[in-house]
């Protein structure tokens, strides 16, 4: 019998972005929680680039914030550059991206976790998940200690049987310089989970003292910086620029001449890598006619000289890495502080999960983050938050939190994972969302804050502020709809100055604002009001896009009717006349929770859905 230390409500395995959110959510909701990490000093560590946000990812950070998660606040605390991307392309695809000081980010996360009541942090390697009658009951660590738990959340990132490749050298590690987790993967396999293998990579880190920045382009952030979190009023850190340089033919020749020493091209790496984050050797091979590739030099923090060379991720040997780096303008004398590497790791095919992120096989066992085949800090954190909330809801016997595809990118993410699965590291893109216009950066609070409040993760002040902000928006829109502008020489002169046609009849401010050439600044000059810049922007989006948003809402509404036709857990697909074997197998594997989800499973035909509707109706009537 192993030594038994303590019983917890929730045990979280892993202290990365998923683990932190999971542990914070469950402990904040009153669960006695323990977070196990292989290395306490690595809590909240950003293994890859020192940046948070970007397209769809920035949206997820906002959603996490609106639901009461921590990532946005950590990113604001650590942010040393903020940029709102796509400002010329319409509000649905505006996205915030930040550079983060790695150490400040970790510092904020660790402090928040340590100060959190109900949460214990332990350094240790969990080797085994213990179950009883298909229900999780605890874990055993490498020291042979047993900890009881009503729910276990596994967030192991790249650590499951992690294997690092640098050239033809390879070594077992969870991340450069850290242990891998070997036993846990086998434990999951012996519980019956289907396990696959993925690959990802990271570029070299360089010493700023040895970089000649004068040969690079400088990219500054927005001034003033816009924070992620609704709670953050101001960014305090000094802001730093990034620098851009480019590879050239010499770089590409070096790479081509050394492909035989690449573990990727030599076949030593079997895991599937992400297409959107290819190594430099991949880019050179696949796009051979491209003359140059961008390299972003991103600062790692305020107190360090380390720079992250974004764009030249590679698994080529160290000597080739040096030659690649030194062939690039500005980097001729650069010293590599940490070499680039590729890492392979185990993941669990996510179709084995419910939308709650609980596994279908083992009750009380939840998986979140890279173990589910995703990539990215934000995707991990979003899942961690949902797993933490749902583990809690399960223990409390309450309704789980399942976000719909028209409600949140987190909803799209999880629905894609559990319905379609993935074969490569899954990253979120806005193109994956069918209701992109509804899932905006600016309306994350409208979409989710009430839910965060109901769950118990949004405090009074934040919620009051939210209500106040939205009331101001509603008031201003009401004002615009009821305030009329009369045609006059002055007004028409102003309108013509703006490049829009003059008015000959009375028109409301709202109608005027709908004109493409007119913005809120203009409205404010002809009819001032005392709203904040933030509210003014929200009003502008709502008024200008009202028609489009309304149309997407209607489509979403129609689709949600299919989502509301639920398929009970115990529903038997066998013996339904007319279903092909292929369809039958898919339905049995995915166990869709409603007709909408069933219709999204690859290979399920509309005819099969009709048949399913009939069978479902019979099931309901016969009880």
């Amino acid at each position: 019998m192993p030594f038994k230390e303590t019983d917890y409500d929730v045990i979280v395995i892993g202290g990365g972005h998923a683990g932190c959110e999971a542990a914070l959510a469950s402990s904040r909701l009153g669960m006695k929680t323990c977070l196990f990490t292989i290395n306490i000093d690595s809590i909240g560590h950003m293994s890859c680039n020192p940046a948070i946000g970007g397209l769809a990812k920035g949206h997820i950070v906002r959603e996490i914030d609106a639901l009461g998660g921590e990532m946005a606040r950590a990113a604001d605390f650590a942010g040393i550059q903020f940029r709102m991307l796509n400002l010329s392309k319409g509000p649905a695809v505006w996205a915030l991206r930040s550079q983060a000081d790695r150490n400040l980010y970790k510092q904020h996360m660790r402090k928040t976790l340590e100060e959190q009541p109900n949460l214990t942090i332990k350094q240790g390697i969990v080797e085994q998940i213990i179950t009883e009658d298909g229900t999780v009951c605890g874990v055993i660590t490498n020291l042979g200690v047993f900890y009881g738990a009503k729910a276990v959340i596994v967030t192991t990132g790249t650590f499951l049987k992690g294997l690092i490749h640098i050239g033809l050298e390879q070594f077992v590690a969870g991340r450069a310089g850290e242990f891998a987790s070997i036993g846990l993967s086998d434990s999951l396999k012996s519980l019956g989970f289907e396990i696959g293998r993925l690959k990802t990579g990271t570029p070299p880190r360089l010493d700023a003292k040895t970089i000649d920045f004068s040969q690079t382009e400088t990219q500054y952030g927005d001034d003033p910086p816009i924070p992620f979190s609704y709670k953050t009023k101001e960014i305090h850190n000094p802001q730093l620029p990034c620098f851009i340089t480019y590879t050239n033919q010499t770089t590409h020749d070096i790479i081509r001449g050394n492909l035989d020493r690449s573990p990727l091209y030599g076949g030593r790496i079997t895991g599937i890598g992400p297409r959107y984050c290819p190594s430099i050797e991949d880019k050179v091979v696949r796009f051979s006619d491209k003359e140059r590739h961008q390299v972003f030099l991103e600062p790692e923090g305020l107190q360090t000289k380390e720079y992250y060379a974004n764009g030249i991720s590679t698994s080529l040997p160290y000597d080739v890495q040096l030659r690649i780096v030194r062939s690039i303008p500005g980097l001729q004398n650069a010293e590599i502080m940490r070499p680039a590497y590729a890492i392979e790791y185990d993941f669990v095919f996510p179709t084995q999960l419910y939308h709650t992120l609980e596994t279908k096989k083992i009750k009380g066992l939840f998986l979140a983050g890279q173990i589910n085949g995703t990539s990215g800090y934000e995707e991990a954190a979003g899942q961690g938050l949902i797993a933490g909330i749902n583990a809690t809801m399960k223990i409390l016997g309450k309704e789980p939190l399942i976000l719909r595809r028209d409600e949140a990118y987190i909803g799209v993410l999880i629905d894609d994972l559990v319905t379609k699965g993935t074969n490569e590291p899954y990253r979120m893109f806005t193109s994956r969302a069918e209701h992109r216009l509804l899932l905006r950066h600016d309306n994350a609070d409208v979409r989710l804050m009430q839910k965060g409040r109901d769950i118990g993760l949004i405090d009074d002040d934040t919620f009051e502020e939210f209500k106040h902000r939205r009331q101001s928006v509603a008031d201003e829109i009401h004002r615009l709809k009821t305030t009329r502008v009369f045609p006059s020489v002055d007004v028409n002169a102003l309108l013509q100055e703006k490049g829009t046609s003059p008015i000959s009849e009375v028109i409301t401010l709202e109608k005027l604002l709908k004109r493409p050439e007119i913005d809120m600044d203009f409205i404010n000059t002809i009819s001032p009001s005392e709203i904040t810049k933030e509210v003014s922007q929200l009003v502008e989006i709502e008024v200008k896009y009202e028609g489009y948003i309304q149309r997407q809402l209607e489509i979403a509404e129609r689709m949600s009717k299919l989502e509301s036709r639920r398929i009970p857990d115990d529903f038997r697909y066998e013996g339904i006349p007319g279903l092909s074997n292929e369809v039958l197998e898919k339905l049995k594997k995915i166990k869709p929770s409603n007709i909408g989800q069933a219709s999204r499973i690859p290979g399920i035909t509309p005819a099969a859905i009709s048949i399913l509707l009939v069978a479902l109706e019979r099931h309901t009537r016969n009880g």
């Binding site: 893109f429 994956r432 007319g578 048949i611 009939v614």
Partner: protein, 461 residues
């Protein structure tokens, strides 16, 4: 995915058969929408009439005021109807064109084309029919969708698929281009790429519209090719018909004018359905019955896709025969030189060499000589006709989807011209891709778009 709460319509009588056709509409908007399109003879309002009552009037396009057909319209209020929803049935004159025009009018006015079996599905879900019956219908749907799949497979090998794939491919390129600009603003993408998009889209719209216009050729497949047999009295038209059909369909007598009415039957040539029409001989006559027959013959010629003029070579090519050939000007015509058993082939050829501008077949309707050659010529002309168009859309739903795609792309053009932001332009753009995908059966998922992005653009910061 279909929505079970909107209003649907379909032609509910078999195509090409019978004198009247029925279009059925079911759903909550059935009566209000019918009301906007129906011009009753008497002063009534459809929304006020009793359930299960029939009303006489016209179907009229409210936008153009064009009258489509004279109809009888049945109103049935829920719940005592087949689907337990409000139902309107429009009885109109059965011509395929009329039915299809009225159906299109409905689709333009907010009604959705019903999926196969959807009326029954609704009937079941609304508790109108029992499970056994519903399941039987479901089986039928599966069978139908399998048949549709086979048909689709056949199309897969054909030109239609090539054209659609090409359109889809171009559209996917455009979508991927825009999506790449949205999702990867920090990549080194060429902004000029977006400038040529408008031309490509307008080109796509033209192609789609051409496809849509080619829809009427599908009639050839659905209703069969109409072949009309004409000729002077007693040249052997009815014998030819019987030989083609391999049965005694027409009464054959040596008395001229035996066939007083138009006789219609169908056969298959190499799998192509052919409706064959035997007519009364055309000639000047005082016989009233025969006059009526001749009138109908003229109409049959008018409506036919191919006309066969039969001549009796044993009597030589007569003035009457030449008049007959003259009457078919502008039609695809085959001249069938009959009774070569009496003259011999060589003499028949000699006597008709002045007809070399025409498609001529030498036959004997008596002993069957040349009949299979004649069938080949019919097939060649009919199919040759189709091949001249780009491709054939044989399915009302496909035409509808192609029109919807075209409409979506029109909206794209409008948004681009208005300088709308990319996220707005992408809405109709992806809508268009979705419609096209429904025809080809390929689901263009976001994965396919991402595939295209990653294969075309070097992404990866």
């Amino acid at each position: 995915m279909k929505n079970l709460n909107d209003t649907i319509a379909a032609i509910s009588t078999p195509i090409g058969v019978g004198g009247i056709g029925i279009i059925r509409i079911s759903g909550k908007d059935a009566i209000p929408i019918a009301e906007t399109l129906f011009k009753p003879k008497r002063n009534i309002k459809l929304s006020d009439v009793d359930s299960h009552t029939i009303h006489y009037g016209f179907i009229r396009d409210p936008k153009t005021n064009e009258i489509f057909d004279e109809v009888l319209l049945t109103v049935m209020w829920a719940p005592k109807t087949y689907t337990k929803e409000d139902i309107v049935e429009i009885n109109c004159h059965g011509g395929y064109l009329t039915l299809s025009k009225i159906l299109n009018l409905l689709l333009k006015n907010g009604i959705r084309l019903a999926e196969p079996g959807e009326f029954t599905l609704r009937a079941f879900l609304n508790g109108r029919i029992d499970l056994t019956r519903a399941e039987a219908v479901m089986d039928l749907i599966t069978a139908k969708s399998e048949a549709a799949m086979r048909l689709a497979m056949r199309h897969l090998q054909g030109q239609l698929n090539d054209i659609l794939s090409d359109l889809e491919n171009k559209l996917l390129d455009i979508v991927s281009l825009y999506e790449a600009h949205v999702d990867f603003p920090e990549e080194d993408l060429d902004g000029n790429d977006l400038k040529n998009v408008l031309d490509t889209i307008e080109d796509l719209i033209q192609n789609l519209n051409r496809l849509s216009e080619g829809f009427h050729y599908s009639r050839l497949i659905k209703e069969g090719v109409g072949v009309c047999i004409i000729g002077a009295p007693n040249v052997g038209k009815s014998s030819l018909l019987n030989k083609l059909l391999l049965k005694d369909r027409a009464i054959v007598t040596p008395i001229p004018g035996t066939t007083r009415d138009v006789i219609e039957d169908s056969l298959e040539i190499n799998g192509l359905p052919v409706r064959i029409i035997d007519t009364a001989g055309i000639r000047d006559t005082d016989d009233i019955i025969e006059k009526e027959g001749i009138k109908r013959t003229r109409m049959a010629v008018e409506l036919a896709d191919i006309v066969i003029v039969v001549c009796d070579i044993s009597k030589g090519i007569s003035q009457e025969d030449l008049l007959m050939i003259e009457q078919t000007r502008g039609k695809k015509t085959i001249i069938a030189i009959n009774k070569v058993d009496l003259t011999g082939l060589d003499l028949a050829r000699q006597k008709t060499n002045f007809l070399s501008n025409h498609e001529v077949c030498y036959i004997s309707a008596l002993n069957g000589f040349g009949i299979s050659g004649l069938k080949d010529v019919i097939f060649k002309i009919a199919v040759g006709n189709m091949v001249k168009t780009d491709a054939i859309i044989s399915n009302e739903r496909h035409k509808h989807l192609i029109d919807m795609t075209s409409k979506a792309l029109h909206n794209v053009v409008q948004e681009i011209r208005q300088d709308s932001p990319i996220d707005i332009i992408l809405i109709p753009l992806r809508e268009g891709l979705l419609y096209l995908g429904e025809i080809t059966g390929r689901v263009i998922s976001d994965e396919a778009i991402l595939d295209r992005i990653f294969s075309k653009f070097c992404i990866g910061k």
